[in-house]
Amino acid sequence: MSSPAVSLPRRSRSSLATRLRIAGGILVSVIFLFPIYWMILTSFKDQVDIFTTPPKFFFTPTLAAYVEYMKRADIVNRLVNTIIVAAGAGLLSIVVGTMAGYALARVRLRGAATFGVVILLSRGVPPIALAVPMFLVARKLGLIDKHITLILAYSTFLIPYVMWLMRSFFMSLPRELEESAMIDGCSRYGAFFKIIVPISLPGLLSTLIFSMILAWEELLFALVLTSRHASTIPVAIAGIAGDTVNGANWAALTAVGTITVIPVVVFALLVQKWLIKGLAEGATKG
């Protein structure tokens, strides 16, 4: 990190205050990370080690929960579905959203600005207001429990998200880039695909990954629009957590939860620099 910290207000503060802040920061991050650590730890316990007081931090680890619930809760099939849907929705939204974001940022179109405001407002639409009609229409068209239905449903919140992020990204690029390309005989498409897209690649990639994460985690549409064949992991977790008949099945909950969380965390940390930048820009320029 090369950028200097803004210290409020004395930079020549005593080193004790600085040390206290560092200690406080570490403590807060430990508090925030503990629940995840505890979930992962619990997923490697057997029943006896889970239901015991005091809670156990050291025990003989077992993979029993993973082995059992991979089969029982149909997790492999759900994992495949979640990957298909997340990748499909992410790719569709990044292509469509990036082009629209470029149009909003650079291509002067009459009425496009209004459309941009409408898109921004659409982020306030409660998903339940979409879930009811989507369910009814999908049922009529025989599209319930199909991957494509979920992919299209997810595009309703992913496209606005991508559009908005990429719009502010494109606005930060110098205008001369495409202008000189178009003077050199490039078409508008040529300028976009040969000049703009390549230099935006890191930003595009992180936006794609974050879109896929949002799709990976989605619950409401998945609950409503799928039943058996195309159902995703979050639906399984909701089922396990809400299973009041069999009581708390913490082994299943933590094992499936860990499977859900690990890949996402890995991807998010891979693109963390871009992710933070995108978040900051989304908030300050949105």
């Binding site: 990190m1 950028s3 910290a5 803004v6 210290s7 409020l8 207000p9 406080g24 807060v28 925030f32 990370l33 629940p35 995840i36 505890w38 979930m39 005091p54 809670p55 469509v96 082009m99 629209a100 470029y102 149009a103 179109l109 496009a112 459309f115 659409s122 409660p126 339940i128 207001a129 979409l130 879930a131 009811v132 009609p133 989507m134 229409v137 496209i159 178009m182 003077i183 078409s187 508008r188 976009f192 985690e217 619950l219 409401l220 979050p234 977790i237 909701a238 957590a241 809400g242 909950l253 933590t254 969380v261 996402v264 940390l269 963390q272 992710l275 978040l279 900051a280 989304g282 300050t284």
Partner: protein, 309 residues
């Protein structure tokens, strides 16, 4: 009026008219896929919801039957469960949103000290932010379990408890707010960290030279500079929080009784468990209008705040 291309190339060719039409089509083609998808998947469903909300829902054909005017709205408005659910949602929003924004900026300040581990700490805050909300709900349900949960075990050390987190209505709401705050504060921390880093340093230097103390620097220099970001963060968080569903579903399922039955869960239950689609549609439209009005007000207020400072 010349088009973009003409400006760029400075040419006025004899094929100008044709070229202009083609160019217009090319330019709109960037926008077209998004418009098409959002009209079919976003605008059309909203109009369909409005249509159902004014109709009798026929379970046999599974579609809207005859027009019944405001009947569904009247029925929903006289349903005490709907009001109760709105009240619960409001309590959640009124407590959780300010809590998360304040906590987020406070933590951002805390972790913004210049030292070797700063980048690592900041990266670690991404982790809770990408845990699926439904997983967060389930995971915390285990941690807060009255009998075996590690939270009550630890609270026992300081002489608190045992707390019946999911049996007591107030504690259940507290649990929901704790889980939601755990899941969303890191998001605000990351935005706030970037905002703090972007603050102009010379202003603080000047305040220091003028002998301003920590507190007055915070209130008369830092906060006014941060107002636009704080307002934007609040609006973004608000847009997410009104969609509250996953965490409640996994952690309490609206219970005990209806103590945490937020509006989205209530509408979901009414539609997909009780199959009362017309009433659900009416509720969804009411919530949609409420959300839009409040979002508009917040955007307005944040613009006013920006002018003020």
């Amino acid at each position: 009026m010349s088009t973009d291309t003409e400006k760029a190339t400075g040419q006025t060719s004899p094929l100008r008219r044709r070229g202009r039409t083609t160019d217009l089509m090319v330019r709109w083609s960037f926008m077209f896929p998004a418009i098409l998808l959002l009209v079919t998947m976003l605008a059309y469903p909203i109009f369909y919801t409005i249509d159902i909300s004014f109709s009798r829902f026929d379970i046999a054909t599974f579609g809207a039957a005859e027009w019944v005017g405001w009947d569904n709205y009247r029925e929903v408005m006289s349903d005490y469960r709907f009001w109760e659910s709105l009240r619960v949602t409001m309590i959640y929003l009124v407590i959780a949103l300010p809590l998360q924004v304040v906590l987020g900026f406070a933590i951002a300040y805390l972790i913004n000290v210049e030292w070797a581990g700063r980048g690592v700490i900041r990266a670690l805050f991404i982790i809770p932010m990408v845990v699926a909300p439904v997983v967060a709900g389930g995971m915390w349900r285990m941690i807060l379990d009255p009998l075996w949960g590690i939270m009550n075990y630890w609270l026992g050390f300081i002489g608190v408890g045992p707390m019946d987190w999911f049996g007591d209505p107030t504690l259940a709401m507290a649990a929901i707010i704790i889980i939601d705050t755990w899941r969303w504060t890191p998001f605000i921390v990351l935005i706030a960290t970037a905002a703090l880093l972007a603050l102009p340093k010379d202003v603080f230097e000047a305040a220091r030279i003028d002998g301003a103390n920590w507190w007055s620097t915070l209130w008369s220099v830092a906060v006014p500079l941060l107002v636009p970001v704080i307002a934007a963060t609040f609006v973004i968080r608000w847009l997410g929080a009104v969609k509250m569903f996953d965490i409640v579903l996994a952690a309490t399922y609206g219970g005990p009784g209806k103590a945490t039955n937020v509006i989205n869960l209530f509408i979901y239950e009414e539609a997909f468990r009780s199959l009362r689609f017309a009433e659900s549609a009416a509720m969804a439209v009411i919530v949609l209008v409420l959300t839009m009005v409040l979002t508009g007000l917040f955007l307005r207020a944040s613009r006013k705040l920006e002018e003020l400072f």
